[in-house]
Symmetry: C2
Amino acid sequence: MIGIYAHFTIQPGKQTEFEAFMTEFMTKVKATEPGVTVYQLCKNAKAEDEYFMLELYADQAAFDAHGKTEHMAALGGTIGEFLAQPPKILRGPAVF
Amino acid sequence: MIGIYAHFTIQPGKQTEFEAFMTEFMTKVKATEPGVTVYQLCKNAKAEDEYFMLELYADQAAFDAHGKTEHMAALGGTIGEFLAQPPKILRGPAVF
């Protein structure tokens, strides 16, 4: 199992638009990628412009496949419209 | 649904002991708290002494109940033995 943590700081006032965009994106991932077992965006309760994404992949194959999907290719080109700075991302194997 | 991200930097050389401790802890949470839907420690692939925890709670009641368990009370007193610095924790509601 592989875990990802991604932290997003978005541009002021883009919360509603960003949440709608990411909701559509999460829906696609959940509907088409059974090996992605967790894919959940949360809003930082202490900072209006911050979000964090929790992701778990069943195995390396599921992780690799996710990176090659059409929706991930499209994401790269569009998520930047919302971000105030590059995302911070951590990746690593699950313990246990 | 509520999400938590926790980031741990541990003391040098304590990886094996920390992983064993956290594995036992995760096992208890998964076995006794059905409202905790995700509770997964991962190891940062890029830093030997860093770990991150991904957590999802079904609702506020599950989150509140988790904080009042015996195992959480015990954790506060023991996890400090492994940490090099206080954990960084983010909390917030799930989007969608």
